[in-house]
């Protein structure tokens, strides 16, 4: 018999809470295909009015960075504080940015 998880692979779920905001990753679930994954995502992740749009992506379709390569990837940015836009004085008239 086929393994249950071959029939229902893992999907990553993204929800957009409101128009104008972006979709955010909220979790994952098992489903046979994209139509059922969307329905399950609706049942599992939008029970309390969390959103108005859902994306699902097969987990296996996501290319992820290698955790063991985290230091070479990310540490070189640590000492380049001039890349943060914190050296500007924002005039009061501009308001909230």
């Amino acid at each position: 018999m086929t393994d249950k998880h071959d029939l229902t692979p893992l999907w990553e779920v993204f929800i957009r809470p409101r128009n104008g905001l972006h979709h955010r990753h909220v979790g994952s679930l098992h489903a046979a295909d994209s139509a059922l994954a969307l329905q399950s995502a609706r049942d599992v992740y939008t029970r309390r009015g969390e959103g108005n749009s859902i994306w699902v992506v097969r987990s296996s379709d996501i290319a992820a960075s290698d955790p063991s390569f985290a230091e070479p990837n990310f540490e070189p940015a640590d000492d380049k504080i001039y890349r943060h836009p914190t050296f500007y004085d924002i005039p009061d008239e501009v308001g909230h940015m």
Binding site: L29, L36, R42, D43
Partner: protein, 258 residues
């Protein structure tokens, strides 16, 4: 009983109880899956659908109680009637059996109730019913989509799922005729413009079921005699067991609240 329908008020009350009981009993059946569903995602989906139906039933019982004007509450209708006083159709009380039976039962019911509520929103002369219907229309539209997708996947799935689906069709199709049967009470409610005539929904139901069955590679069985009796309070053996569990708390501890 049909003969006991004396006044127009009684008829309307009775007609509303028919659809309220459908929701309560099917909602209870779905709740029986709690802790037993084949996967967590479906556990939530089944409970969600059960709660939708329970919510519809509550609103309808409250409306029925207000129309009756004798102080009966939704709890009185749900928990304190005898088996013969429940007028749900037989389809909704059929046991869960397996996931195929459960999803097919949901498909048969939702394929009828979604257009039923949709027509009620458009045409009912009762403002409260229109309000209940507007919410229920959206809920049943989801039930229809969800159960339809599953019936297609199981019917056109593995050897085992296809066999279970075919088994469910053979078992349950004979209970679909009662969805369209009109009791004398219902006839009065239809004539009064409160509820849509089921006959006007038949083409849409046939079309929905035919479309799903085609995709699911399922065959429509030829049924000579449709089962009936629920609308007259004549239920199957399973109903007593269902009510025993549904009513236990209120029977054992009258007036108990959370």
């Amino acid at each position: 009983m049909a003969a006991a329908v004396a006044s127009a008020e009684d008829a309307v009350l009775r007609a509303i109880l028919e659809i309220a009981d459908d929701g309560l009993i099917l909602g209870h059946r779905l709740s029986e899956w709690c802790g037993h569903a084949p996967m967590l995602e479906e556990e939530l989906a089944l409970a969600n659908m059960g709660l939708d139906l329970l919510g519809q039933a509550r609103a309808l019982y409250a409306h029925a109680g207000a129309l009756e004007g004798k102080g009966r509450t939704e709890d009185d209708f749900a928990f304190l009637r005898r088996e013969r006083d429940y007028v749900n159709c037989l389809l909704v009380e059929r046991d869960n059996r397996d996931f195929a039976h459960t999803m097919l039962r949901q498909l048969y019911f939702a394929a009828f109730m979604q257009p039923f509520w949709h027509a009620t929103v458009q045409t009912s002369s009762d403002e409260t019913l229109r309000g209940i219907a507007a919410k229920a229309d959206k809920e049943m539209s989801y039930h229809l989509r969800h159960s339809g997708e599953w019936v297609i996947r199981m019917g056109d799935g593995t050897e085992e799922s296809a066999a279970r689906m075919a088994d469910a069709v053979n078992e349950l199709h004979r209970y679909t005729g009662e969805l369209f049967m009109v009791s004398p009470a219902r006839q009065q409610a239809i004539a009064a413009g409160l509820l849509p005539d089921p006959e006007s929904l038949r083409d849409e139901w046939d079309e929905t079921i035919a479309t799903v069955f085609r995709a699911a590679k399922l065959e429509l069985p030829e049924i000579r005699t449709m089962q009936k009796g629920g609308r007259d309070g004549i239920h199957g053996e399973d109903m007593g067991h269902l009510l025993a569990e549904l009513q236990f708390m209120q029977r054992a501890y009258p007036g108990q609240t959370w």
